[in-house]
Amino acid sequence: MTNLLQTPEATQNWYLLLSTVLFSIGVIGVLFRRNALIILMCVELMLNAVNLLLVSISAYSGNVDGQVFVFFIMVVAAAEVAVGLALMVSIYRSIGSIDINVLNKLKW
C-alpha cells in the first residue's frame, strides 16, 4: 500500500502531504461538527483531497487515467450531494433540525 503511493519523484510527496492534510481536516470536521450540512461539506472536502492526489499521480506518471477517475468521482459526488441535500430537507421538514445528535433513532 505504501509502495503504491511512492513515486520516483520526491516532489510528488508534497501533493501527498497536502491531500493527507486536507483529508484529515475533513475527517476532523466530520467528527467535530454536529450540523449535518457541514458534515456533508466535510465529506466533499475529503473527496476533493483524494481527487487532488489522483490528478497529481496522473500528472507525474504521464497517464491520463487518473483524471478520468476524477471525473467519475465528481459524478458520484454530484449525485450524492443532490440526494443528501434532498434528504436533509425532508429530515428538516419532519424533525425541524439537522443536528445529528437529534437523529439518533436508529437503534434498539
Binding site: 505504501t2 466530520v30 445529528i100 439518533n104 437503534k107 434498539w108
Partner: protein, 641 residues
Amino acid sequence: MEQTISALSAMIAPALLIPALPLLGFILISLFGKKLGHLSGWIGSLMILGSFVSSLVLFNGIGSEGKLNFDLYEWIKFAGTSLSFGFLVDQLTLVMLLFITGIGFFIHLYSIGYMHDDEGFARFFSYLNLFVFFMLLLVMGNSYLVMFIGWEGVGLCSYLLIGFWHKNPAYNDAAKKAFVMNRIGDLGFLLAMFLLLFYFGGLDFDTVNNAAMSMEKGSGLLILTTLLLFVGASGKSAQLPLYTWLPDAMAGPTPVSALIHAATMVTAGIYMVSRSNILFIQAPPTLDVILWIGIATSVFAAVIGIKQNDIKKILAYSTVSQLGMMFAALGLGAFESGMFHVVTHAFFKALLFLGAGSVIHAMGGEQDIRKMGGLLKFTKITGFTFLIGSLAISGIPPFAGFFSKDEILANAFEGNKVAWILLSLSSMVTAFYMFRLVFLTFFGSFRGTEEQRHHLHESPITITLPLMVLAVLSVIGGFIGLPAVFSDTHTFRSFLNPVFEQGHTLVAEHAHPSHATEWMLMGIATIAAFVSIGFAWTMYMKNKTLPEPDEQLSGFSKVVANKFYVDELYDKLIVNPIKVLSDLFLVLFDKLIIDLIVNLSAILVDVTGRTYRLIQTGNTGFYVFAMVISMVLFLLFQIVL
C-alpha cells in the same frame, strides 16, 4: 416363442396408458371435483374403463407367451448402481391388470349409486382413482422399487379411504391402525430391498432372479430376504400377526372395502410372493413358514368369523381367512393355485361386499345382522347375487370358489396331510358362517324397526348391475382352471406358465394326484361344505336361533366374539410398553437433554445480543468515531507489518 420386436413395442403405448388414465382421473377430479359434482364419478369410472380396454389390448397383444419389459428412464444412479423406473408386463401382470381394472370399473360404477348423497362424492372418486393408479403401478413395475412405490401408494389410499368419513374419530383410529400395521410390514419389505440391492446386485426382477438362481438353495441370505419380504406381504395381506387392521378397515365406505380390502390391495402380498417365486423356491424354510402362517390365519380368522354380527366384519374375517388359504397355497409352492384363488376370490368377495353394501343401503345404514332377516323379499337381485357369492365362497360346485379352493386343497393333500385337514376345516367353517350370514340376513322374518321396514327397497341400477356382472363371473369364473379330471388343459395354469416355469425347474416335480384321488377330494370338499350349510340351516332356519346379545355371551363364545382378545393383547404387550418407554424418553431426553441444549443456545444468543446492542447507540457521531479509530488501527497494523 419370440415375437417380433415391433409387435411388442407397439404395446408400450397402451401399457403406459393403463396407469396414466387413473392418474389423469385423479388429477382432474381432485382439481375440478367441486365444479364437476356428480360428473366426477362418471369421469373416474370412464378412466378405469379406459384402463380396462387398454389391458384387453395388452392381453391380446402379449398373449400367453410374450413379455413386455421396458425402462422408462434411469431414475437413481449412484456408485455403480443404477435403478431405473420401468414396467414389466407378463402373464402374471396381465391377470392382475384385468381383474383390477375390470372389477375396479364395476366398483366405480357401483360407487356412483352408493355414494350419491355423500358430500365427499368427488373426493371419494379422486382417492379411488389414485388407488387404482398405485395398484396398477404395483403390479406393472419391473423392479421391487417401482412395486414399492405402488405398495406405499395403495397403503396411503387405503388410509385415506378408511378414514374417508374423517369426522368420526373411531374411523380415523381405524385408518391410523391400518397405516401403522402396514408400516410394520413395509419395514420388512424395505429391509428386504436393501438386502436385495446389496447382495443381489439390483432391484429389478430379472437381476434378482438370476442372482437367486445362482445361489445355493436354502442359504441364510435367501431365507432372511424372503422372510423379510414375507413380513411385508403379511402386513399388506393381513396375515397373522399383522391382520388386526383389516377388520377395522371396514370403517371405510363399502365400495372401498370391496375394492381395496377384499379384491385388490390385500392380494398385493400374494402377488409379490408369486412375483418373487424363484427367490421363495430357493428358500424352502420360508415356504414352510408361509404355509403354516397361512393355515393358522385361515383357521383363526374363520373361527372368529362365526361369532361376528356385523355384516362387514364377517366378510372381513372371511377375507383374512381366504387370504390365509392363498398363502398356504404359496407355501406349498403352488403359485398358480394361489393366483387362481386370488382371481376367483376377487370375483365373489367383491360381489359379497357390494351385496353387503346394497343391504346396508337398503337398511339405512344398519350393519348388525341380528336386526335384519327376510330381506330376500324386498331386495331380490341383491339377495340372489349374494347367495351366489356365498355358494362360491363355500366351495359348492360349479361356482368359481369350488375350483380354486379344490386346487389348493389338492395341493395340500399332496404336500402335507395335516395342512389339508386344517384347510378343509377352515373351508367348512367358512361355509358355516357364510350361510349363517345368509340365513340371518335374507331369510326368516324381519327383525328391524317398523321404520326400517318401510324404507326397505332394492338399490338403483348402478348398484345392481355390478352385482349381476360379478355374480355371473362368480359362477363361471372357475372354468378358466378346470381340474385335470374335467379337462386336459388347465387354461389358467398354462397361461401363467411362462412366469413360473423357471421356478418349477428348481423343484422336483411331485406327482399329480391320480384322477381317483381328485374325485375323492372334490367329493369330500363338497360334502363338507353341504354339511356345514346344513348345520347352519338347522341352527338358524329350523330352530330359528338368534345370536345372543353381546352381554349374554359366556365362556369360549365370548372369547371368540371378542376376537380372541388379540387387540387387547397387542395393547398390553406392545402399545403400553411403548407408551411407558416414550414417557420415559420424554422426561429423560426431550425435557432434560434436548431442551437444555436448545435453551442454552437461545440464552447464549440472548445474552450476546443484549451486550452487543449497547454499542448501537444510534448516535451518528459515535459511529464516525468508531470508523476513524478503526481506520487508524488498520493503517497502523499495515505499517507495523
